[in-house]
């Protein structure tokens, strides 16, 4: 169905996630790029060599979750907006999820926003814990929200009240 809807299946998503034990140690990138396309800025963006595309730029990127520091630079550099990050080190009940977000108005730290799944369905109301938008991110801000752990594999987008 993915090729008809653009909505990845649950097992595809889980396969891209590192083990929970890694997530609990700190922020880590999840690269949801499922198909061969001629593209490699994720590899170029990562100073820690944590994403590899290799000689053939059509290869599907492979993430080394151990090498990843969770710096989030790749999130803003991926033209497919295919990268997110999760961090389970802050609490046992919640995870922080970082997502690229290219819409106005930008939410502010502390705002309540609606978290959406990969089909755009409402998942939960969540709190924004940070908004990264430095010049180097070139107009692809990265929003971090705090969510219940049970929604870790579901949340992939947000909607602000006005939108």
């Amino acid at each position: 169905m993915f090729e008809q809807t653009g909505i990845p299946e649950r097992d595809m998503i889980i396969e891209k996630f590192p083990p929970v034990e890694r997530i609990d140690r700190g922020p880590v990138a999840i690269v949801e790029c499922y198909k061969r396309i001629p593209c490699n800025p994720c590899e170029t963006a990562c100073r820690f060599n944590a994403i590899r595309v290799g000689e053939d730029i059509n290869n599907i990127p492979v993430t080394d979750h151990e090498a990843c520091t969770g710096c989030k630079v790749c999130i803003s550099k991926c033209p497919g907006l295919a990268i997110m990050a999760v961090d389970g080190s802050k609490s046992k009940e919640t995870v922080e999820i970082s997502l690229p977000y290219e819409f106005l108005p930008l939410p502010q730290k502390g705002d309540q926003v609606s978290a959406l799944d990969r089909a755009g369905n409402f998942v939960a109301r969540v709190r924004v814990v940070s908004v990264l938008n430095p010049k180097s991110f070139d107009r692809t801000p990265v929003i971090t929200i705090e969510a219940d752990r049970k929604h870790m594999y579901d949340i992939r987008n947000i909607r602000t009240e006005e939108h």
């Binding site: 993915f2 090729e3 008809q4 809807t5 653009g6 909505i7 990845p8 949801e32 790029c33 499922y34 198909k35 061969r36 396309i37 001629p38 593209c39 490699n40 800025p41 170029t44 963006a45 053939d56 730029i57 059509n58 550099k77 991926c78 033209p79 497919g80 907006l81 295919a82 290219e102 819409f103 106005l104 959406l116 799944d117 990969r118 089909a119 755009g120 369905n121 070139d138 107009r139 692809t140 992939r156 987008n157």
Partner: protein, 366 residues
């Protein structure tokens, strides 16, 4: 009559790269662009591009146009740019006919030409497809991203290729609702990362669907859509009405190379390249000597490959005029390797099968 060494027709990514590459080899170049600014399709592309670093991947299209324009300045003594100027005809005696601002006709006599005229949009036939509110994707993008005008409030996007997906995303960024994206094909044609971006905004992508008709008195009010079978025939009883004020038709581009056909270049219809394209040799020279082609005009592909093709065509055109740099072979091989890398995936394989049909190995012009 105006004279120049290399005439580049079209100031899109392919034309600009051809000009830069020829100037780097030492040639003098005139770039003719019918729009009032350079950049071609790039000036409408607010999203980050794919590809790799050599083709400015991860940079937004609008910014790639700026990078190329800045590069032009480095060669300002060699490259002359004429905007608001359309080439109307190429003639047997080598004379080119051009029109400035739709009033002044003039002639140019170049030693060689690179045609980088890009593409035009295909349309779709259905009842009432001429109602106001029904646009091509290019028009919607131009309104929105060049002039800052919203085309409407509620859009049905027809076509789930990269252009349909990207323009849908840009419409949503502009605050316009996208009701649905439909495509007659059984699978999404564009990159799935683009499709996922749209899906998670809650916009349904409907494959195996088409537009049956448009309804409206003075302008578009409703679209009737329906499902299609494997042979793309509408399935009766599956009709649905959508209340939309804009329909955006994005069913593909086709190479714009009438000028080349008119000049007598041997043309060939190649489905993988999305239309009728000139037969050429490995140096991008058509069957008419000193007439080169590059970019979407020689087959619909991407800006990334259009830029590399432009560099190659400019390099080879300059060499043919006597500006063959010492590192010609190295540059040629380097660009060819970039193209090979870009075309090594599933989309590229398709393109390569098309290119095989137009590249003649034998050399008619030696």
């Amino acid at each position: 009559m105006k004279t120049t060494e290399l005439l580049v027709i079209g100031g899109g990514p392919a034309g600009l790269c051809a000009a830069l590459s020829a100037a780097e080899s030492g040639a003098s170049v005139t770039v003719v662009e019918r729009n009032n600014r350079l950049g071609g399709q790039l000036i409408k592309q607010t999203h980050m591009f794919f590809g790799s670093r050599e083709q400015y991947a991860s940079t937004r299209g609008i910014d790639i146009a700026k990078i190329l324009e800045a590069e032009l300045i480095k060669y300002s003594r060699q490259i002359e740019v004429l905007t608001d100027t359309a080439v109307l005809g190429l003639y047997e005696d080598g004379v080119v006919n051009a029109l400035y601002k739709e009033e002044d006709y003039f002639k140019i006599k170049p030693k060689a030409i690179v045609a980088a005229t890009g593409a035009y949009e295909k349309s779709l036939a259905f009842p009432n497809n001429d109602l106001p509110g029904i646009y091509g994707a290019g028009a919607v993008q131009t309104l929105m991203n060049v002039y800052g005008v919203k085309p409407g409030n509620n859009v049905l996007m027809v076509g789930a290729g990269n252009i349909g997906l990207i323009v849908s995303y840009q419409l949503m960024q502009a605050g316009v609702r996208v009701a649905a994206i439909l495509d007659a094909a059984p699978k999404i044609g564009g990159y799935l990362v683009h499709a996922s971006k749209i899906a998670r905004m809650g916009v349904p992508i409907l494959c195996s669907h088409t537009v049956k008709e448009a309804i409206g008195k003075d302008c578009l009010e409703k679209a009737v859509i329906c499902m299609v079978d494997e042979r793309f025939s509408p399935i009766p009883g599956t009709e649905k009405e959508l209340e939309v004020d804009v329909m955006c038709i994005s069913v593909g581009l086709t190479p714009l190379c009438e000028l080349l056909a008119m000049r007598g270049c041997e043309m060939k219809y190649v489905p993988q390249l999305s239309g009728s394209v000139p037969v050429r040799n490995e140096r991008y020279e058509t069957t008419i000597e000193n007439l080169f082609v590059a970019g979407d005009a020689s087959g619909i592909e991407e800006a990334s490959s259009a830029m590399v093709e432009g560099r190659l065509a400019g390099l080879c055109a300059a060499a043919k005029m006597g500006y063959k740099p010492a590192d010609f072979d190295e540059r040629f091989k380097g660009y060819a390797a970039q193209l090979k890398a870009l075309r090594s995936g599933p989309v590229g394989e398709h393109i390569l099968r098309g290119i095989e049909q137009i590249v003649s190995k034998e050399d008619r012009h030696v």
